[in-house]
């Protein structure tokens, strides 16, 4: 099949850009570990409150791990427990969350913390909080009539 000369240039340029782009995305993912939240941890959705760590939601200082704090959240229609958390500026935090009923979102506005919470699954994401301030945590997956009133607050303090 004949392809026009200019089209060859156009496709060469386009496909090279695409390859370069994918290499950058892939390098950042597999070399620096910058993956989207993809935990494979499971929990019985009907017994969330009895099972660790969800029997004790909140901020927990930890030692000897790659992160300084573990923040445990339990979502249910239409609440997050805890309703507010505080972590020190510059600390590395592992967010661990699940839901007791339907699918919920866990998005922290103005940050990269953005996970879907599904019944039976634990969602996890590790990040460093490097900017002080108050960040709204909200549900971004439709969960019912009270969906837009489902909030919590992340306070990053000096």
């Amino acid at each position: 099949m004949h392809i026009h000369k200019y089209e060859k240039w156009w496709l060469t340029f386009g496909i090279s850009s695409l390859v370069l782009f994918l290499v950058i995305v892939g390098f950042s993912a597999f070399h620096y570990g910058s993956h989207p939240p993809s935990a494979k941890v499971y929990v019985d959705p009907e017994r969330v409150d009895e099972i660790a760590p969800f029997n004790n939601p909140g901020v927990h200082k930890v030692e000897g791990k790659d992160w300084d704090y573990e923040v445990v959240f339990v979502a249910s229609a239409f609440y997050y427990n805890p309703p507010e958390i505080e972590v020190p500026l510059g600390s590395t935090v592992k967010f661990i969350a699940t839901t007791k009923d339907v699918v919920h979102g866990f998005q922290t506005a103005g940050t990269n913390i953005n996970m879907i919470l599904e019944p039976g699954y634990v969602s996890e994401y590790v990040t460093t909080v490097d900017k002080a301030g108050e960040y709204l945590i909200l549900c971004n997956e439709y969960c019912g009539i009270g969906h837009s009133s489902m909030t919590s607050m992340l306070k990053v303090v000096e």
């Binding site: 099949m1 004949h2 993912a29 993956h35 339907v102 599904e118 909030t151």
Partner: protein
């Protein structure tokens, strides 16, 4: 004895009986546009914080109507109407059996649509058009959607049978380009809709009927998105049919290359299905390796998109120069800007540039976290489906409807259609622009108006939500205009003959290789890619499945 000239003439006009079938689909499409569009207006008004819905109507109820009627019904019906007309025009009148399949498909879809709509209106199914479990709608809602899918299979079978008949009658010859494109689109549709059919028939229906207690949530979402992304290409490919094979005729030019057009459609078939994980990037339970693999496959569609962009602009430039356009860009001025049949789809093409760029961001693995489920995504698909695709469909309606109703598209209507296009582009720039920006700040999609407990961040979003209402109102004016034009073309325009434009291939283009029509090769690659991308992760999802979920009705 019929001469060749008479035979050609027969083909030029779509048979009245086929026309009736196509029109039936198009009527439903525009009724859906009217109702769904009104719901869209109401949503933007509610979210501006200045308006409350009367009579206890829920925000998520109208959001469900908007999504189902515009995302699923308007698109599918218009596409089937268009495809029936296109196949009848390019491969000859349907046989009685093929047309009967078309009607059975139409009524199956319409009974399904009505059943689902009633359930939404009764507030038994405010689950949005993605109907994610374990929110549980009334079983009739799911059954209705299943009928819509089954109806498309029946109608699609009629069109595919016409293609098979043509190939048998013309051995060794490439099929008419538009018919070929329709068959590619139908093949993609049938393969992908199997996913949602399995989800509805084997998971959601038994569960909503109470035959089983629990549902595997992640599996249901994975099946949905196995269908959900090709769905957007199912909307897009008919727009590409107009661009590749009809617009050149409208502007007086030729198809740049028949083979490139076919190749690009085949690449869409290959790379639109094994990619659903890019809608699930922030979900637990799927390894990041398989997510990344599907991200790579997703971005392969950049290649046929680049082919298309090149072909379009090559056609435009060749035509513009033939009309006397000089210099690097002089040809651009020569294009028929006053012809709505060209102007509306052209504006759609322009919208596809930012839309495509936004799509690359959405599908890019970790970059998705910034925008996932924010209203940026809503802004994105209002550029793709609600501008690129829809303006192209409107552009097609300006000749298709009068061709089928035996009327003409008058100068006044053409002028109004140009205004409609400008109103649409203007309203959408405001609405989609505001959605993109405030989405980057973190404002979520699919959410009722909320101050989020007086959060400082959420307060900053409100001006953008007001801008969305302004854009939404302008877009609604656009909907009123298009409905006025369509009503004119159906009932009031002067009687007469309207051309069904089908472009010829440029005499410089080379002979189309038959390999492009070898379905054994392409379907094998298509299925191999799907198995490659999905087998291992789906086995993992099933093997590791946690206890299932009971149903919830939380609205």
């Amino acid at each position: 004895m019929t001469t060749i000239a008479e035979k050609t003439k027969d083909l030029v006009r779509v048979d009245k009986r086929d026309g009736k079938l196509a029109l039936a689909h198009i009527y439903v499409a525009f009724i859906a546009l009217a109702i769904g569009g009104l719901c869209g207006l109401l949503q933007t008004l509610v979210r501006s914080g200045t308006f409350t819905l009367p009579w206890g109507i829920g925000y998520y109820q109208i959001l469900t109507i908007h999504g189902v009627l515009l995302g699923l019904i308007l698109t599918t019906y218009f596409i089937f109407g268009f495809q029936i007309a296109v196949v009848s025009r390019t491969s000859g009148t349907l046989t009685d059996k093929q047309r009967l399949l078309g009607w059975i498909g139409f009524w199956t879809m319409t009974i399904g649509t009505t059943a689902s709509s009633i359930m939404i209106l009764l507030n038994e199914a405010s689950v949005l058009y993605t109907f994610y479990a374990p929110l549980q709608a009334h079983w009739i809602f799911y059954a209705g959607l299943a009928l819509v899918i089954v109806g498309t299979w029946i109608g699609g079978a009629g069109l595919i049978s016409k293609y098979v008949e043509w190939r048998k009658a013309n051995p060794g010859q490439p099929s008419p380009l538009l018919t070929f494109m329709v068959v590619v689109n139908l093949a993609m549709w049938i393969i992908c809709s199997l996913g949602v059919a399995v989800e509805v028939l084997f998971q959601l229906l038994p569960w909503s009927l109470g035959w089983v207690d629990k549902v595997d949530v992640l599996l249901s979402r994975t099946l949905f998105w196995y269908f959900g992304h090709p769905l957007v290409y199912f909307w897009l490919l008919p727009a590409y049919m107009v661009w590749y094979a009809i617009i050149p005729k409208i502007i007086g030019g030729k198809i740049f290359s028949d083979s490139l057009a076919r190749l690009s459609f085949m690449l869409f078939l290959l790379f639109s299905i094994p990619v659903g994980f890019h809608h699930q990037l922030t979900e637990p339970g799927i390894s990041s390796f398989w997510k990344f693999l599907q991200v790579v496959l997703t971005l392969m569609v950049v290649i046929p998109s680049l082919l298309t962009a090149f072909s379009m602009f090559a056609t435009f430039e060749i035509r513009g120069r033939a009309l006397g356009g000089k210099g690097v860009l002089g040809w651009f001025k020569e294009l028929p800007w006053g012809d709505a049949r060209f102007f509306a789809p052209f504006v759609g093409m322009v919208a596809f540039i930012p839309a495509g760029a936004g799509g690359i961001i959405n599908a890019s693995h970790q970059m998705n976290q910034l925008i996932h489920n924010t209203i940026w995504v809503t802004g994105h698909f209002h550029l793709t489906v609600a501008t690129t695709v829809l303006l192209t469909f409107f552009g097609a309606a300006y000749w298709l409807i009068p061709h089928l109703t035996g009327r003409v598209f008058t100068k006044q209507m053409n002028r109004l259609a140009i205004i409609q296009t400008i109103v649409w582009a203007f309203g959408m720039s405001i609405m989609s622009g505001a959605m993109h920006i405030v989405g980057l700040f973190g404002a979520p999609r699919r959410s009722d108006f909320s101050t989020y407990g007086g959060s400082a961040q959420a307060t900053e979003w409100i001006p953008y939500q007001i801008a969305q209402a302004v854009g939404g109102t302008i877009l609604f004016i656009g909907i009123v205009l298009i409905l006025y034009i369509v009503a004119n073309l159906i009932w009031f325009a002067p009687k007469g003959e309207t051309e069904f434009p089908v472009a010829e291939v440029s005499e410089h283009a080379e002979k189309t290789p038959m390999a492009l029509e070898n379905w054994k090769i392409w379907l094998t690659i298509c299925i191999a890619l799907i198995l490659f991308a999905y087998t291992v992760p789906v086995i993992e999802i099933i093997q590791n499945a946690p206890p299932g979920s009971i149903g919830y009705k939380l609205w």
